[in-house]
């Protein structure tokens, strides 16, 4: 996912980074390598350690232990103002007593850039975020989206090899957020800088990132492209956090080649086994599930579970159904427009191919923080 862009971004190596506040471990041995010019998103629920990791890289937070290398140099103990890393905050953090132009010029002034060059670079940075006409305005005269674009210009104007963004779109409404996501993507492509982006919004992570690191309870659960996380989640937490999913739990029985779950009297099987002794659950993506009326023949599916339609959501491009199963759990099914439609309360059968089910260890005690 890293094309031929001329890479002037820095590589980052986090090695067994831990951060403890008293007895609480905010970071519990984080290891992550971020390639030069990569767009890496740190994704996780609040309190999972993603922002702490960002603050560690930025130099706002000291580490308790571990190694941190940015651009080939260890930066542990280097104060934030000497790291030359751009940071964009959720709360914009523009200086209210300076005009937009002076805000963006601020890092250049600190670096002793002469006035003519400063002017040119400020103009270029503001043009890049499409705020070129606003140099004389003050932050209080701008909307949230405009302020955040100015903050972005200020963070890239000094050409840092690494840009950190901490939920930069968190305070904006959905429409603006989606538009700015594309803007950020474009700017990343044009600059070739390494971007590290923190969000709790998995859709945003999928739109933006080359790779995503999923955080949970101060640890990284999995690192991979959006597709890898969606198709091949390594833990139940990742499977549930990235994308919609249905989790089937039941009394498990394994023989040599397959695993069977007994759910409210019915049995479903998947042609695989789970390693170790953990109790397995099945995770299914909405498009891997189908709904049939009872008695209808189901071609190519090996498993059936009875249920009732609990919710119908029309999506335009198709429909999303919530199906209440006999054991009280809910399955999420996506069906294309061309498919049959079902009404609320209708008795149906949920069908799926056992090969599409991901067998994962049940770590549901570990995702109490899921929102």
């Amino acid at each position: 996912m890293k094309p031929e862009r001329q890479s002037k971004g820095a590589a980052i190596d986090l090695e067994s980074i831990s951060k403890a506040y008293g007895g609480f471990k905010a970071l519990d041995g984080i290891s992550l390598r971020i390639e030069p010019g990569e767009f890496m998103t740190l994704l996780g629920p609040s309190g999972s350690g993603k922002t702490t990791t960002l603050n560690v890289v930025a130099g706002f937070t000291d580490v308790t232990s571990g190694k941190l290398v940015v651009g080939g140099k260890s930066v542990v103990g280097v104060p934030a103002h000497k790291r030359n890393i751009g940071v964009v905050f959720q709360h914009y953090a523009l200086f209210p007593h300076m005009s937009v132009g002076r805000n963006v010029a601020y890092p250049l002034t600190l670096r002793g850039v002469d006035q003519a060059q400063r002017k040119a670079r400020v103009a270029r940075a503001l043009d890049m975020v499409k705020m070129g006409d606003f140099a004389h305005r003050y932050p209080s005269e701008l909307s949230g989206g405009q302020q955040q674009r100015v903050a972005l210009a200020r963070a890239i104007v000094f050409d840092p090899p690494l840009l950190l963004m901490d939920e930069p779109l968190g305070a904006l409404d959905k429409k603006l957020r989606e538009w700015l996501q594309l803007e950020i993507k474009r700017i990343h492509r044009e600059l070739g800088t390494t971007f590290v982006y923190v969000t709790h919004d998995q859709e945003e992570a999928l739109v933006l990132s080359d790779r995503i690191a999923v955080f949970n309870r101060g640890r990284i659960e999995q690192v991979g492209t959006g597709r890898e996380l969606y198709d091949e989640p390594k833990t139940l937490f990742v499977g549930r956090f990235v994308g919609d999913s249905t989790v089937l739990r039941g009394e498990a029985r394994s023989d040599g080649a397959s695993t069977a779950l007994r759910i409210a009297g019915e049995t479903v099987t998947a042609p695989r086994r789970i390693a170790g002794e953990a109790s397995p659950v099945m995770l299914l993506r909405p498009e891997k599930l189908a709904i049939r009326r009872p008695g209808q023949s189901a071609v190519g599916t090996t498993n059936r579970l009875p249920g009732t339609i609990a919710e119908v959501i029309y999506l335009g491009s198709g429909s999303k159904y919530e199906v209440r199963l006999a054991d009280g759990s809910t399955a999420i099914v996506r069906s294309p427009l061309t498919g049959e439609s079902f009404g609320l309360g209708e008795t149906v059968e949920l069908c799926f191919d056992g090969a599409d089910a991901k067998l994962l260890a049940d770590d549901s005690t570990a995702d109490a923080t899921l929102t």
């Binding site: 706002f60 934030a80 300076m98 209080s140 200020r154």
Partner: protein
Amino acid sequence: MEMKPLTRVILGLVCLLVAIWLVAPTLVVVPMSFNGNKSLAFPPQGFSWQWYQNFLTNPDWSSSFLNSLKVASIVAVLATVLGTLAAFGLDRMKARPANLLRMLMLTPMVVPGVVLAIGIYAVYLDARLVGTLVGFVLAHTILALPFVLIAVSASLEVFDRRLETAAASLGAGALTTFRTVTMPLILPGMLSGLLFAFATSFDEIVVSLFITNPYLKTLPVQIFSSITRDADPTVAAVGTILLCATTILIGGGMLLLGREPKGRQ
């Protein structure tokens, strides 16, 4: 809620009465300063500018005025610098020890002036500070510091510390951050502290009476001794001048600080 006409009239009358009660004693000195006779009687008789003339030409008056100006200016600057540093430090400390220290530094506001004056006088006698510029500056700074501390602390209370984090990420060290980000944003607090410190020193009388001597008198001391010695209407002239000066100073300051500067959130 709509007010009844009668209520409105009564409210207006009461307000007017309170306003007269508050301002009248101050305004009485104005006609008295133009008195034709050498007496502080009210109402005054005749009209003359002689007391203003006396204030300008009599060295007792002009030198004490200049002394007060000098002391108050130094105190204002000193108290503002120290008070701002103290407020900044307390803002960054753990809450419990900070509150304790803050209370300690505010004690000069609540301790009776006479008690403070006796203490200062006792120490000054030994230290040979009675009747010196240094002595006045040190004593008045003790009294002025709490005002700066309160004003700057209030500014820091609403200051967004995340701006300092942002400045650090852009390459600013602690000192540069303070100079370019923190200080400009708490400047209104510092200026009002400066103003209060100046005023505190300029009209301080209790401590000044103890630590004064014939060689160094401040204006309030001169006024006090003049009025106890002879009923010299120059006092009224001085009072009128001060009244005008402070009205302009405070009024101007309020206009300056009260105006929403462009770009403040």
